[in-house]
């Protein structure tokens, strides 16, 4: 039994391929995205005023540090890498009508296995091969982790929202146990895994600090988008998502496809963890949990599960989080304000989409 949260979303899932966007369409979309963001910034500004911070100074910092300063934009683009992988995984699952809400658990297990394997592997083989293996191991572990919810959903009809949520709690704890007991670096006092030397990490792009993981993430989400919209396999998944019963009658092996969808979705979440560790962090500290998944889920919905739109939203999330972190340090506003800002942006964007939809309907009628 699947839960269809948005009839409009499943309807657009099938006709996403038809019709090429005209220039006016794109302009309209851009306006309907930037307008709400501006409104959200104003609303959030009142909260800043209420706690005694100058909103203009704050937003100035966010823009400067998240977008316009060379170092800031590089950090923003680096932050995008894991988010893109997560978004790609969610697009596959959501378009197939499966609510994989276990992204954070899959992400952390992928991160921990990558952090455990990479420093060992680089000592016995060339580093490009070692990193490839680490990526594959992280992906495999996350896939295996998703197997229980997938099988339960496919063959027992157990709702995947419950199972993936529980598996994410389990996965977060298991990741901590692994860091503290199995993969702990004996040479440090703080519980963390062994650190991957900087020179063995994913190369940086050109002369910048941007991780090349960004390219991997962009490739992942574009491939996912094309597979979902342009291939027979993608069409099958979208049919399962739009109407599982009809899919059975159309002769599709829904159980097998369900397990495949979970494997792809979790595998991409595992890769997200790996790309963050191998590209940026270098190790996993105990109790580390950035909880990216929670912010990416609504972003993917707002992007209507469209890969290219998702890239835009992920970029926005990254600007806000990197800019917010810098502004927090300078202006003494705790980083928590970023959460408030992201939340208001999401709500206003959702509202704007509704208003736009209503307007179009009344114009047609």
């Amino acid at each position: 039994m699947s839960i269809d949260t948005a009839p409009t979303a499943s309807a657009t899932a099938l006709d996403a391929t038809s019709g090429t966007a005209t220039r006016r369409d794109i302009l309209h979309r851009l306006l309907m995205t930037l307008g709400p963001i501006l409104i959200a910034l104003i609303i959030a500004g009142f909260i800043l005023l209420a706690v005694g911070v100058d909103p203009l100074a704050y937003y100035g910092f966010v823009l400067e540090k998240g977008l316009f300063s060379p170092l800031g934009i590089q950090q923003t683009l680096t932050r995008m890498a894991p988010l893109l992988f997560l978004a790609a995984g969610l697009i596959v699952a959501f378009r197939a009508g499966m609510w994989n809400l276990g992204g954070d658990g899959q992400f952390l297990l992928g991160a921990v296995t990558a952090a455990a394997s990479a420093p060992v592997l680089v000592q016995i083989m060339p580093s490009w091969l070692a990193l490839t293996f680490s990526f594959l191991i992280a992906m495999a572990v996350a896939m295996i982790w998703s197997l229980i919810p997938a099988l339960l959903r496919a063959y027992q009809g157990v709702n995947e929202i419950i199972t993936t949520l529980m598996m994410t709690f389990l996965g977060t704890s298991l990741a901590n146990v692994l860091v503290k007991l199995m993969f702990r670096d004996p040479s440090t006092t703080v519980p963390q895994t062994r650190t991957l030397p900087v020179e063995d990490r994913l190369p940086r792009l050109f002369e910048t600090t941007i991780t090349s993981g960004l390219l991997l993430g962009l490739a992942a989400i574009i491939i996912v988008h094309l597979v979902m919209t342009r291939t027979a396999f993608g069409l099958k998944l979208r049919i399962v998502g739009a109407n599982p019963r009809a899919a059975v009658h159309a002769g599709l092996g829904v159980s097998g496809l369900t397990v495949t969808v979970f494997a792809i979705s979790a595998g991409l979440a595992g890769l997200a963890g790996a790309v963050d560790i191998i590209g940026v962090q270098g190790n996993v500290r105990a109790d580390w949990n950035p909880a990216y998944g929670l912010a990416v889920i609504p972003a993917v919905f707002l992007a209507r599960m469209n890969g290219f739109a998702a890239i835009g939203f992920v970029f926005l999330l990254s600007v806000l989080s990197i800019g917010g972190e810098s502004a927090a340090r300078r202006l003494g506003v705790p980083n928590h304000f970023t959460l408030v800002l992201v939340s208001i942006v999401l709500i206003v964007l959702a509202l704007a989409e509704y208003v736009d939809h209503r307007y179009n309907q009344s114009r047609k009628a």
């Binding site: 948005a6 706690v51 009809g157 419950i162 598996m167 389990l170 298991l174 928590h336 408030v340 959702a350």
Partner: protein, 311 residues
């Protein structure tokens, strides 16, 4: 090790289990009502946080625990009103709004806490217990179950009240219909939007109360992110209980024992990472699902906004 299984230790363990279970129970009961009425309320974590913060503020400044519970429930309702307006009345995506509300309240309560309490970290005095005569004299069980704050007994009574509501009252049937076949309810002349709004606001009140209990009685103070996933646990409990309030109670107690065990092991100086024990309840439930996994009996219209005349 002998001290570990002594009477005192055991009753302290069970006492802690009940204390840990109450917020989960309230959240689970609330979520259950929303889900029955067809609203998947993922914002419940945010409602609990609002309840925890405002509940603490209310109790701290007034000195009255009951006033704290009241402000906590009001905080939950305030967040639920946003949810009801956006997801029930105008039918926005429940997952987007739910997660957005959770993120926002996480940030907002942490922010307010930073400017208000982060220098002093004030604490509330220990909650005074209502001791039930006779029953509280039973060894082990007495001190564990019958020496709690009055609200604990009320919460347990609510389980049975909910059971009565769902099975014996018109409102209970309306709620069920709003989740299973909203169009039929509409044809019968009952406002679906109104029924669902009642459900969501009740969820907010219960979640807020749960959060206030967590901060005021459980911890005695407010810290950012204090709920730590309790709302999501409530969602899990509500879904596992398949519409039966009493199963929410059993589930909440199971999770409560494991949470309490975590603290107890630390006190006893046993050197197992707390993460291992935190995994236990989830493992137990997953194993149960693998062994007895049956088709979930969720309301047919769960998560779908109701629009009159839509296909």
């Amino acid at each position: 090790m002998t001290g570990l299984f002594s009477e005192v230790f055991l009753s302290a363990l069970l006492f802690g289990a009940v204390t840990a279970a109450i917020p989960l129970l309230l959240a689970g009961l609330g979520e259950q009502m929303s889900e029955k009425a067809g609203v998947l309320n993922i914002g419940i974590e945010g409602m609990m946080l609002a309840g925890a913060y405002l509940g603490f503020v209310g109790a701290f400044y007034s000195g009255s625990l009951w006033l704290g519970f009241l402000t906590g429930a009001a905080g939950g309702v305030a967040v639920a009103m946003i949810m009801a307006l956006l997801c029930v009345r105008i039918g926005l995506n429940q997952i987007v709004i739910g997660i957005a509300l959770t993120l926002g309240l996480e940030g907002l309560t942490a922010l307010l806490h930073h400017f208000q309490f982060s220098r002093s970290y004030p604490r509330l005095p220990a909650a005074d217990a209502t001791i039930i005569p006779l029953l509280s004299d039973i060894p082990v069980i007495g001190p564990a179950f019958f020496k709690h704050h009055l609200i604990v007994y009320l919460a347990v009574a609510l389980v049975f009240g909910m059971g009565y509501l769902y099975r014996r009252t018109q409102l209970g049937l309306n709620l069920q219909a709003a989740g299973d076949k909203p169009a039929a309810l509409d044809v019968a002349g009952i406002d679906v939007i109104r029924t669902r709004t009642i459900a969501v606001l009740t969820t907010g009140a219960l979640a807020g109360l749960g959060g206030a209990y967590l901060a005021n009685v459980g911890a005695g103070l407010f810290i950012p992110f204090i709920t730590n996933g309790a709302g999501f646990l409530g969602i899990v409990l509500a879904m596992l209980a398949r519409g039966r309030p009493v199963w929410v109670l059993f589930g909440a107690l199971l999770f409560g024992v494991c949470l309490s065990l975590t603290t107890a092991m630390q006190v006893a100086g046993i050197n197992i990472p707390t993460d291992v024990i935190q995994m236990l309840p989830f493992l137990a439930v997953m194993i149960m699902l693998v062994l007895f996994g049956r088709r979930a009996s969720l309301p047919a219209a769960l998560g779908i906004p109701y629009e009159r005349g839509a296909r």
